[in-house]
């Protein structure tokens, strides 16, 4: 039981995202409110003016995404929040952000789809869209909390990753998590690290906006600070001008991938429960991971050696870490609120001796512990 702590507050997942963004120093929010993410925009509309930040309700999600890209290039930490239909509209400009290496944070509180779908019901149908939503080849980073506290910390982490790797970061929530209320203590200023943008320290004539540095991440100058550069969605050279030279094309595309893949150890984050001696594992993220933990607890009470793995980073997919965790696992149940998305990733990386068992629900409701528990009992035989 918590001791009576005057600092602990009852917060909603969406509110915690909003507060996490403020903690991380967000200066610009451009968005179009949509259920079940609306409370993030509402909170931002209330809080941003108090802090000298900007809140703009745009005409739609296409414009919202464009606005936060512009704000970020002007030097502001920027973000938007949406749900499935809006996330689809953002995809083209999201691609522009990947290509122009513009840091920003996009929160998608998932509801049932496709199309307008189920505005007030849970789904995890956008899992692959977060990875492959825009066209062309690129590598994305997506984080996914499962508690109110996690919403806060993962949003702060998303802003840090955005600045660290100069790229958009997607935060995937779901309806239940976005609307869920739990107790949490907001950390004091300075308690957790907040990353600043890496700015150029060279004279303006030496500056290259997309320079291929040893770390692969280029320092970023803001518009209007005396640095001259070109920003284009066309495949470009290190100065930002369109190129058709195969070498420069390869350099650009490899940079977009390698600046993330090379550091995947830094980006990957997993939580495990009772995996030490587990022969069976349940793999799931978001609210479903909490169902899985509950089911594991129920199964352990019946002495079934089962554990749970929850990725808090979904993309890049934690290939190496999972291969290692599944070494001694005979069966892995992949529980998802969709018709099977991450199950294909698990199939791709699972050791040959590990059987992959899908468990899916997509009727707008969260999976119950007894559903997962029944599956565990079925496969343990």
């Amino acid at each position: 039981m918590n001791s009576k702590n005057s600092k602990a507050r009852l917060l909603q997942g969406n509110e915690a995202c909003m507060l996490g963004a403020l903690y991380a120093g967000v200066e610009f929010f451009g968005g179009y409110p949509i259920t079940p993410s609306t409370e993030i925009a509402e909170g931002m509309a209330r809080e941003m003016p108090k802090r000298g930040g900007k809140f703009i309700q745009m005409e739609d999600e296409i414009a919202s995404m464009a606005a936060i890209i512009g704000a970020s290039n002007a030097g502001c930490k920027s973000m938007t929040a949406t749900s499935g239909p809006g996330f689809s509209l953002m995809q083209e400009n999201l691609g522009y952000a990947y290509m122009t290496e513009t840091p920003c944070v996009v929160i998608n509180v998932q509801r049932g789809g496709p199309s307008t779908g189920l505005p007030t019901k849970i789904g995890q149908g956008d899992t692959m869209q977060a990875r492959w939503g825009t066209h062309g080849d690129y590598t994305s980073i997506t984080v996914a909390p499962s508690s109110v506290e996690g919403c806060f910390y993962e949003t702060v982490r998303a802003f840090n990753l955005a600045e660290r790797f100069r790229t958009p970061i997607i935060v995937l929530l779901d309806e239940v998590l976005g609307h869920m209320r739990e107790m949490m203590v907001i950390p004091e200023e300075g308690e957790i690290e907040v990353m600043k943008r890496h700015r150029p320290d060279v004279p303006s004539e030496w500056y290259r906006h997309f320079e291929i540095t040893p770390s692969l991440v280029s320092p970023m100058a803001s518009f209007g600070q005396g640095y001259r550069y070109n920003v284009s969605g066309l495949t470009h050279d290190q100065d930002g001008f369109p190129t058709a030279k195969p070498k420069e094309i390869l350099d650009k595309l490899n940079k977009l991938r390698n600046k993330i893949v090379r550091y995947s150890d830094e980006i990957v984050k997993l939580r495990t429960e009772k995996m030490e001696d587990a022969h069976i594992a349940v793999f799931s993220y978001g609210t479903v991971a909490r169902t899985a933990f509950q089911a594991v607890k129920m199964a352990r009470e019946r002495r079934i050696k089962v554990g749970a793995i929850q990725p808090l980073t979904i993309w890049p997919f934690p290939d190496e870490q999972l291969r290692d965790m599944l070494k001694n696992v005979r069966k892995v149940i992949v529980a998802e609120l969709n018709m099977g998305q991450l199950v294909h990733e698990i199939r791709r990386i699972a050791p040959r001796h590990t059987e992959v068992i899908p468990l899916q629900r997509y009727d707008g409701n969260v999976m119950t512990p007894s559903e997962i528990f029944d599956k565990i009992r079925e496969v343990v035989k």
């Binding site: 001791s3 909490r290 169902t291």
Partner: protein, 197 residues
């Protein structure tokens, strides 16, 4: 005024369920203020009484009407699954809610209904109070039916302290409605006390 048979409730048994979870569902239709009641109750339990609590909700796309509910899970330990599994307490303000959620209750769970709205009750083991009628006639505002219900729940279960629930209600009450809300809460506790005797 509270027509009900008297459930044999053991408060202690009621609080400590398997897995240390105490699960509450407030159910009815959209517009009855059930999700707000869930938030207030969670705030009283979490902030006021310092317990672990998770509150979730389920509602339709309509502004009014449609099924609406709030779930609370209270525990001494970490709460994994955030929704209810087997209810210790069900508040049903409509017949439909009662019919839908009664099967989700524990055998010794506590059922509380609006006795004007829920007329076919699947058990003898329940408390019935005319929440909406009390709100209209005694307080003069039908919208405080949810607050009367919270007063009754606090009195019947002891899952939340009266001081905390009062503080939580008043902190969320719009200006100028504090007195009505206080009276509603006390009325709920009073009718529950009378029914317990």
């Amino acid at each position: 005024m509270a027509a009900s048979s008297k459930p044999k409730q053991n408060k202690k048994n009621n609080k400590k369920s398997q897995d240390d979870r105490y699960e509450i569902r407030l159910s009815g239709s959209g517009g009855q203020g059930l999700i707000l009641a869930g938030v207030i109750l969670a705030e009283a339990i979490g902030v006021g009484d310092g317990k672990n609590v998770v509150q979730t909700q389920s509602y339709g796309p309509e502004a009014r009407g449609g099924a609406s509910r709030a779930d609370l899970v209270i525990s001494d330990g970490e709460i994994y699954y955030p929704k209810s599994m087997k209810l210790d307490l069900l508040l049903a303000l409509t017949q439909e809610a009662c019919d839908t959620y009664y099967p989700d209750m524990k055998e010794r769970g506590l059922l509380v209904v609006d006795s004007n709205m829920v007329t076919q009750i699947p058990t003898k083991n329940y408390y019935g109070f005319p929440f909406s009628r009390l709100a209209r006639e005694e307080i003069g505002h039908v919208m405080v039916a949810n607050v009367i219900a919270m007063g009754a729940i606090a009195e019947l279960t002891g899952i939340v302290s009266m001081a905390s629930i009062k503080e939580a209600v008043l902190s969320r009450a719009p200006k100028g409605t504090e007195e009505k809300n206080s009276r509603a809460l006390e009325l709920g506790a009073k009718v529950a006390r009378a029914a317990k005797k």
